[in-house]
């Protein structure tokens, strides 16, 4: 198994230098923290992921989750991990301290999740789902629900799940058939129905599992407007939190999956005996609305899986490429030319650089969005809060779909760097590829994300979200267009951004006469948006790196035109090397990857409907 490696420098650069998260300390919610605490949290989180989570990742994949005699089991290592994870306080790092969370900013939370998921993605389903479900109860539940469930779930004593999908109701949730029948004189409903694909739907670690189930009360409207949300404990819970008898719900099976083997994906049956009690959350018929509020958070966490596993695969490939010697350097013409590490070969370097550029871009994208969510929730200024929420809404589907597609692509490139060794289990790359694939499928497939972006987010507030994004991007590009180092890149990013705008506006007119046409191009459009947003972020980072380099040169008395002195500094000084590389990364992305955005515009403008007209 390859060792789990993290580019901690890039994580810290993105947080402290690019996003300047110390600004959050000015907000009341985060005023108790300091940069020192953030750094300690990141260090300890990294240590935990490295020493406690990573060692069982490969073994857990081989053992997998099991289902025998009606009971779900997870690998034994997860029992130990869970205990340590909870005791160390990692279960709910960003959630409400009143209920046992740690109250850290979301942007620190995503940096931690990147580490944890990269180290052991299957285990992370338990905390991920539990905390999301508990947060939903915290926001929409009654006081007694909150008192009963939230702290126990934030501390990992009880787990939680989200039960949406049914065999005939996946992307179309309005078609669900699970029912909830009110009981005269009682505070509960009787739940009846089947749910499938329930992540971390059960396990043998926690004493109880609290399911959040969507169902329809008979007589409520058909479709998604008649869906309500219920709290359905696996075991009944007394008012004081004592666990009682079975709540008439059972696991009927777990899926055999391509990846995330150690995370049990369950089929659940509720109310076989007509005795399954569910407690309404909030108001009737608003269940999907509540669920979707949480789905947006879940979509960012899903995007992070792409960031985490993609980058871990890149780091593994980088380490491998430095060690594996094959063939002499192409420029070495000597008779006894020796084999060099494959990192010396241009084709391998291109693969590595592609992963580096993608990986740093999607990390910046996800961290930036988490930062926006911190400001949107706890900002001091109303205008800034609204704007942050708008950008968060606009970028969420891109974070989810683009980052997971790119994350998968990175595992594929990492395998390519490993050659045949990547295809066998030993180096762990094939597991990363299997594990990350799910992220493009669940929490709304990437196709659904593209529809959300094009059909909803681009139209919100009459297109004002997109206009704000365009304006911000224009201002940034304008501010560096005369820059000696980066000015050359600005032209290309500007062209790609204009192509994106042109594509967006072309849909407005074509969509009127041919409503299917924009939908045909929704996925490429999202990809295009992801590319331009990546370029913008990498250029911002390069701009900061350039300023830091100038400071370094000044203190060292290095002339920017003196290539030898610069090289000498890079050799001696890791910071100089990192910043010089940042500029190279932006360059590579703009010249080698971004041109695709303009190609996508060409395909959108082609009026080609062959995929609609073909007779399959």
């Amino acid at each position: 198994m390859s060792q789990y490696l993290l580019d901690k420098r890039d994580v810290e650069f993105t947080l402290f230098e690019h996003l300047k998260i110390e600004e959050l300390l000015k907000l009341e919610r985060y005023s108790e923290f300091s940069r020192e605490i953030f750094e300690m949290v990141l260090n300890e989180g990294h240590k935990f992921s490295l020493e406690k989570l990573a060692p069982s990742n490969e073994e857990a994949d081989a053992i997998g989750a099991r289902f025998e005699n009606g009971q779900v089991t997870v690998p034994q290592a997860y029992h130990t991990i869970h205990k340590d994870f909870c005791e160390s306080g990692w279960f709910a790092p960003v959630h409400n301290p009143e209920y046992g969370g740690q109250g850290l900013p979301n942007v620190i939370g995503v940096a931690l999740i990147e580490m944890f998921v990269a180290a052991n993605s299957s285990y992370m389903f338990i905390p991920g789902l539990s905390v999301a479900a508990a947060h939903l109860i915290e926001v929409f539940g009654t006081d007694s629900d909150k008192a009963l469930y939230v702290e126990r779930m934030y501390c990992g004593e009880w787990a939680g799940t989200m039960c949406l999908t049914e065999p005939q109701a996946g992307s179309a949730l309005g078609d669900l058939t699970t029912t909830a029948v009110p009981v005269e004189g009682e505070d509960y409903y009787l739940i009846k129905g089947n749910k499938i694909f329930i992540s971390a739907g059960d396990q043998d670690i926690t004493d109880n599992v609290i399911h959040l189930v969507i169902a329809r009360v008979p007589g409520d409207p058909a479709g998604s407007r008649g869906i309500s949300l219920f709290i359905v404990p696996k075991l009944r819970v007394g008012a004081d939190g004592t666990i009682g008898e079975s709540n008439d719900m059972r696991v009927t099976g777990i899926e055999e999956k391509m990846g995330i083997h150690a995370s049990p994906t369950c089929s659940l049956s509720f109310g076989d005996e007509g005795q399954c009690r569910g407690y309404l959350v909030g108001e009737r018929c608003r269940g999907l609305q509540y669920m979707f509020q949480m789905m947006n958070e879940a979509r960012l966490v899903t995007g992070l899986q792409g960031v985490a596993i993609g980058n871990a695969a890149f780091q593994a490939a980088l380490a491998y490429a430095k060690e594996r010697a094959q063939g002499p350097k192409v420029t070495d013409r000597s008779a006894d030319a020796k084999s060099v590490a494959i990192i010396e070969h241009p084709d391998v370097r291109r693969n590595l650089m592609t992963m580096k550029a993608y990986g740093e871009a999607i990390r910046a994208m996800l961290f930036n969005t988490a930062y926006l969510s911190d400001v949107a929730l706890y900002g001091n200024d109303e205008v800034e809060k609204t704007k942050s929420q708008d950008m968060l809404d606009l970028l969420t589907p891109i974070c989810k779909a683009y980052a997971t597609d790119v994350g998968f692509k990175m595992t594929e490139l990492a395998m390519q760097v490993h050659g045949g060794y990547g295809y066998i289990k030993e180096y762990g790359i094939e597991q990363q590829m299997r594990d990350v694939k799910i992220a493009s499928l669940y929490e709304g497939t990437n196709g659904i994300q593209a529809l959300d972006l094009l059909g909803r987010k681009m139209r919100l507030k009459n297109g004002a979200l997109f206009m704000t994004w365009l304006q911000d991007t224009n201002e940034f590009l304008e501010s560096i267009k005369d820059d000696g180092v980066l000015g050359g890149l600005v032209k290309d990013v500007e062209a790609a951004k204009n192509a994106l705008g042109e594509a967006a506006f072309s849909f407005v007119s074509t969509g009127m006469s041919d409503p299917e046409y924009p939908l045909l191009h929704a996925t490429p459009f999202l990809r295009m948006f992801g590319l331009v947003e990546s370029a913008r972020l990498l250029l911002e980072q390069a701009n900061i790196a350039k300023q830091r380099l100038a400071q370094l040169w000044e203190t060292r008395g290095v002339e920017s035109s003196d290539a030898t002195a610069r090289e000498q500094l890079v050799q001696e000084n890791d910071a100089a090397r990192y910043y010089e590389n940042k500029i190279q990364t932006a360059k590579f992305f703009v010249y080698q990857i971004l041109p695709e955005a303009r190609a996508i515009l060409k395909s959108i403008q082609s009026s080609d409907r062959s995929a609609l007209e073909v007779r399959f």
């Binding site: 790092p93 890791d574 910071a575």
Partner: protein
């Protein structure tokens, strides 16, 4: 029980250290630092003693202002208060021992549990020197420690095996890596650590002269190891060992 422990801020042992071109020291630009790993065992043992016997754990560091980070880490693990004796001077083990001795005189702990050596300089002297300056018993390289009735029974790792030593408290115990398994700083621990007291003093405040007794002439990287060679037979191997390497 009052327990004193120490932490040193050292260069991350996982990083490749580069020597300055003039050989006067190592390049500290962009170098990552962390708590000396032997000190982690010392801090852990101090916290365990407190958990068993009650009392207070004081964590001391001698070094630059940035060493508050390592003190905070120890506080996050469970120590109660910190003392930084701040100095940017190059320190030899003797100077550190003199500073610590003065801190011990002021704090009068019942026991001093510290790492046996630092992983940066690997000098393994401070604990012994400290015992000498304070004229207190010492038990070095501890792999086990039991405290009762004013005495400590210490299992020690020594050349060729182990030994057990009984010392009267207060005493200096230096921790080896089999003494315990250091805990992780928990997230709630980190949050609490920010409110724990941390005093900053200078060597001058303590009246200690930190002028070094050891002078470093220059730093040299170890010679790079040449590539290995596969020999054809056992006889050839013996011949090489005898006549070329001259080790048998």
């Amino acid at each position: 029980m009052k327990i004193l422990t120490t932490v040193k801020r050292v260069t991350d042992p996982d990083m490749k250290v580069k020597i300055k071109p003039d050989q006067s020291g190592i390049i500290t630009d962009g170098v990552e630092y962390r708590m000396n790993s032997f000190d982690e065992y010392g801090v852990e043992e101090a916290i365990r003693l407190k958990e068993l016997h009650g009392g207070e754990v004081i964590v001391v560091s001698v070094g630059p202002a940035e060493a508050t980070k390592e003190i905070r880490t120890a506080l996050a693990m469970g120590a109660d208060r910190g003392i930084l004796v701040e100095t940017n001077a190059e320190l030899d083990s003797d100077a550190v021992a003199r500073v610590l001795a003065e801190v011990v005189r002021r704090e009068t702990p019942d026991i001093i549990v510290i790492g046996k050596q630092a992983v940066d300089s690997d000098r393994n002297q401070t604990g012994q020197l400290l015992a000498s300056y304070l004229d207190l018993p010492q038990a070095t390289f501890a792999y086990s420690l039991e405290v009762a009735d004013g005495w400590a029974v210490v299992g020690r790792e020594v050349d060729g095996g182990t030994s057990t030593k009984r010392v009267k408290l207060p005493a200096i115990i230096t921790a080896d890596l089999r003494l315990n398994e250091p805990r992780y700083a928990s997230l709630p621990g980190i949050m609490k650590a920010k409110r724990k007291p941390l005093d900053t003093l200078t060597p001058a405040d303590l009246g200690v002269d930190i002028a070094p007794k050891v002078r470093v002439l220059r730093y040299e990287a170890p010679e790079e190891r040449a590539a290995g060679e596969i020999v054809g037979s056992v006889d050839e191997l013996i011949d090489r060992l005898r006549n070329k390497a001259k080790v048998i």
